[in-house]
C-alpha cells in the first residue's frame, strides 16, 4: 500500500484564460521524495491540488501505482495530505484525529484501529498527548499529529503543502530531518511543495523546479545545483552571479565570449551545451564559491578587474561583494572560506578569476528570477 509510484502525464489546469499549469509531466518512483519548488504563482500548489483531487485537471492524466485516478473523487484516491496550517479538526482529540481516516474507511475491527492509532502516536512520539485537543499542542506537535493522521492509513502517496511554513527556523530544521527519516523508514512516496529551495535541496531525492505553470527542470539536488538547464533554475537554486555578454564562438568544447565590459574570455569546459550559438547574446553564470580573488595585477590573463564594495562575515564563510570596474552596474557575490583572516577590505582593487569548469552559459532569451 504505502509507497507507490506516481506519474503525471501532460497535466494542464486553466482558470479561464489563465494557464496555472501547462503540460506537467513527472515520473515519481515508489518511495521517492520529490519536491515541487517555485516562486508563488508557479503552479506548484495547483499541481498538488490536482493530485489530491481538489481541482480537476483541464487535460492530462494522474496515475498512482498503475491506477488512473484522474477523475476519481478525493476521498477515493487514498492519498495522504499534510496541509499548510495542518487542518487538524479542532473538535476532535489527537487520538480521534488520527483515527478519522481509519473510521472513514469503515475498518470494522475496533482493536486493530486502536492499535494502529497508538502505533502512529508512538511513531511521532506523542503517545502521552492522545487525549489533548489540537489547540493545546505547540506548532511542532500539531505538525507531527498532521503527519501521523496522513500516514495512518498507509497512503500510496503522501502530499505535503508547505508543511513547515508556520514554524520558526530551528524547529523547521529539526522537523525537516524528522520528516525525512520517517519517510525513509516507511518507504513513503512523498510530493512536497515548498517555496524554500534550501528545504527542497535538503530533503528531496529529486526536485522539480516550476515557474509560470511550467516545469523548468527535474533532477537530483546536485544536478540542479551543478548543471542548471536555464538561467531561471540557476538563479532559483542556490546563489548565482550573472554577467551579460556576447557569444563569439562555441564549438568543440571551447566557447569564446565577450563580456559586457569587453573582456574576452575563452572557456574550455566539458559538456558545454551547443547553445548559445555564435552571435547570440548570453548570460555567463558562476556560483559565488567558484570565483577566485587576487590582488590587482596578480590575477594573470583572462581575469576581470573589480573593486571590493563590502565584506560580510556570516560565520561559515566570508561574503565579498565586488563591482566590475568597467561595468559599475554589475555586482558579484563571492564566497571565501572563513578560516584565516580576510586579506581584502572595502575599496581594494582586485582581479577575479572565473573557474572554467564552473561557468554556465545561457542564451539570453529569458528573464531570470528576481
Amino acid at each position: 500500500m504505502i509507497g507507490q509510484y506516481l506519474s503525471l502525464v501532460g497535466l494542464e489546469k486553466h482558470f479561464g484564460s489563465v494557464r496555472a499549469v501547462t503540460s506537467l509531466s513527472l515520473e515519481i518512483g515508489a518511495g521517492e521524495f520529490v519536491s515541487l519548488v517555485g516562486p508563488s504563482g508557479s503552479g506548484k500548489t495547483t499541481a498538488l491540488n490536482m493530485i489530491a483531487g481538489f481541482e480537476g485537471p483541464s487535460a492530462g492524466k494522474i496515475v498512482i501505482g498503475g491506477r488512473d485516478v484522474t477523475h476519481v473523487a478525493p476521498n477515493r484516491r487514498g492519498i495522504g495530505m499534510v496541509f499548510q496550517k495542518y487542518a487538524l479538526f479542532p473538535h476532535l482529540t489527537v487520538r480521534q484525529n488520527i483515527a478519522f481516516p481509519l473510521r472513514m474507511q469503515r475498518q470494522s475491527n475496533k482493536t486493530r484501529m486502536t492499535t494502529r492509532v497508538e502505533e502512529m502516536l508512538e511513531l511521532v512520539q506523542l503517545s502521552s498527548f492522545g487525549e489533548r485537543y489540537p489547540q493545546q499542542l505547540s506548532g511542532g506537535q500539531q505538525q507531527r499529529v498532521a503527519l501521523a493522521r496522513a500516514l495512518a492509513f498507509e497512503p500510496p502517496v503522501l502530499l505535503m503543502d508547505e508543511p513547515l511554513g508556520a514554524l520558526d527556523k530551528k524547529l523547521r530544521e529539526a522537523m525537516q530531518f524528522e520528516i525525512k527519516s520517517l519517510q525513509e523508514r516507511l518507504g513513503a512516496t512523498v510530493v512536497y511543495v515548498t517555496h524554500d529551495q534550501d528545504e527542497a535541496l535538503t530533503m528531496s531525492d529529486r526536485v522539480a523546479v516550476m515557474a509560470g505553470g511550467e516545469l523548468k527542470q527535474f533532477g537530483t539536488p546536485t544536478e540542479l545545483y551543478r548543471h542548471p538547464n536555464s538561467a531561471f533554475v540557476a538563479d532559483f537554486i542556490g546563489r548565482m552571479n550573472f554577467i551579460e555578454g556576447n557569444c563569439i564562438e562555441n564549438a568543440g568544447g571551447t566557447a569564446v565570449v565577450r563580456l559586457s565590459d569587453d573582456t574576452v574570455l575563452s572557456i574550455r569546459a566539458q559538456g558545454l551545451p551547443a547553445t548559445p550559438k555564435a552571435g547570440q547574446t548570453i548570460k555567463l553564470a558562476i556560483r559565488p564559491e567558484r570565483v577566485r580573488v587576487a590582488r590587482r595585477g596578480e590575477g594573470g590573463s583572462g581575469c576581470l578587474a573589480a573593486v571590493v564594495q563590502a565584506c560580510v562575515f556570516v560565520g561559515s564563510v566570508h561574503i565579498l561583494v565586488v563591482r566590475l570596474e568597467s561595468r559599475p552596474d554589475v555586482l558579484l557575490q563571492i564566497q571565501l572560506p572563513a578560516e584565516g583572516g580576510l586579506p581584502f577590505q572595502e575599496r581594494d582593487a582586485v582581479d577575479l578569476l572565473l573557474d572554467d569548469g564552473a561557468i554556465h552559459l545561457f542564451a539570453n532569451t529569458e528573464r531570470h528570477a528576481a
Partner: protein
C-alpha cells in the same frame, strides 16, 4: 494572579495580548466612563421596570396572582402552546436557515452578496409589514386560497389565517434571519482546509459535512437557536395579527391583560412566569453547549 502586564502565555498569545493591551490602554476611570451610558440606560430602561413588574406580581406579599395563573388551565395552556410554537419555529428556522447560511458561506463573493441581501432586506423591513404580508397571503380570498382553488386542488377556501399553523409559518419567516446570521458567521470562519482534509482522509461529501462541518458549526447553531427561541417566546406582533383567539400566545395574553382588562398585577404575574421560563431555557441551552466538549475551543 499578577497584574495586567503578565507575560503572554505562548499557547494562546493572541487572546492574552488583547486583554493585556486593553487593560494597559484604558485606565479604570476611562473604562467606567465608557461603560456608564449603557449601564445607566440598562438600569433605567430594563432593570427598574422588570424589577417593578416582578414586584407588582407579588403585590402585598401575596401569591394570589400566581395562584390564579396556575389554577386556570387556560393560562397554563397558553404557556404550553407558547413554548411549543417557539420550539417548532426554532426547529423550522434551523432546518430552513442552515442551508441558506451554508450557501452564503460557500458561494462566490458576488452571488453570496445577493443571497445575503435576500436575508437582510426582510430584516430591515418592519415586522408589522411582514406580518400583514402573511395576512394578505393567507386570508380567505388571499393568494394562496385563490391559487389552490384555481388549480382545482380545493373546492372552497381553506381556513388558513388565524390558526396556529399560520402563526408558526409567519414567525418562522420573521425570525429566520436571526438563525441564518450566527450560523453564517460561524461557517464563514471555518477554513476550507477542514473540509478538504476530511475529503482527503476518505470522507465522502456528505460524511465530511456530518463529521466535520456540522460539529464545527454548532456554536453558531446554538447561538441562532437561543436567539430564535427566546424571541419566539415573547413574540407579540405576528401572533397578534396572524393568530386567532384559539391560538393565543403569552405575549398576546399579557397585552390583552394590560390594554383591555387593565389587570396589571395579573399581567405582571404572567410576565414573571414567561421571564422565568425563558431564563430556564437559556440556562439549559448553555448547559448543553458547555457539555459538548471541544466546542468551546473552536473560537
Amino acid at each position: 494572579m499578577s497584574g495586567p502586564c503578565e507575560v503572554p502565555q505562548p499557547a494562546f498569545p493572541r487572546q492574552r495580548r488583547s486583554t493585556a493591551a486593553s487593560a494597559r490602554f484604558y485606565s479604570r476611570g476611562v473604562s467606567v466612563c465608557l461603560a456608564a451610558p449603557l449601564v445607566v440606560a440598562l438600569a433605567i430602561g430594563f432593570v427598574y421596570p422588570v424589577t417593578r413588574l416582578v414586584g407588582l406580581s407579588f403585590e402585598g406579599g401575596s401569591l394570589e396572582q400566581h395562584r390564579r395563573l396556575v389554577a386556570e388551565p387556560l393560562y397554563l395552556g397558553v404557556l404550553a402552546s407558547t413554548v411549543k410554537v417557539a420550539f417548532i419555529v426554532t426547529i423550522a428556522s434551523l432546518l430552513l436557515g442552515f442551508p441558506v447560511a451554508y450557501l452564503m458561506a460557500r458561494l462566490r463573493h458576488g452571488i453570496a452578496m445577493v443571497v445575503a441581501a435576500c436575508v437582510f432586506i426582510p430584516l430591515w423591513t418592519s415586522v408589522l409589514v411582514r406580518s400583514y404580508a402573511w395576512v394578505v397571503l393567507l386570508q380567505r380570498n388571499g393568494i394562496v386560497n385563490t391559487l389552490l382553488a384555481d388549480a382545482g386542488i380545493t373546492d372552497g377556501p381553506l381556513k388558513l389565517i388565524y390558526t396556529q399553523g399560520a402563526v408558526i409559518v409567519a414567525m418562522t419567516h420573521v425570525l429566520m434571519p436571526f438563525m441564518i446570521l450566527p450560523i453564517y458567521s460561524t461557517l464563514q470562519t471555518l477554513p476550507p482546509d477542514y473540509n478538504r482534509a476530511a475529503r482527503n482522509l476518505g470522507a465522502g461529501a456528505f460524511r465530511a459535512f456530518i463529521s466535520v462541518t456540522l460539529p464545527l458549526s454548532l456554536p453558531g447553531v446554538f447561538a441562532g437557536s437561543v436567539l430564535c427561541f427566546v424571541l419566539a417566546l415573547g413574540f407579540y406582533i405576528t401572533p397578534a395579527l396572524v393568530g386567532g383567539p384559539g391560538s393565543m400566545l403569552m405575549a398576546t395574553l399579557i397585552g390583552q391583560q394590560t390594554t383591555v382588562l387593565l389587570d396589571w398585577p395579573f399581567a405582571a404575574a404572567l410576565s414573571t412566569v414567561l421571564l422565568t421560563v425563558t431564563l430556564i431555557f437559556v440556562f439549559l441551552f448553555r448547559k448543553t453547549l458547555s457539555l459538548s466538549k471541544g466546542l468551546h475551543s473552536v473560537h
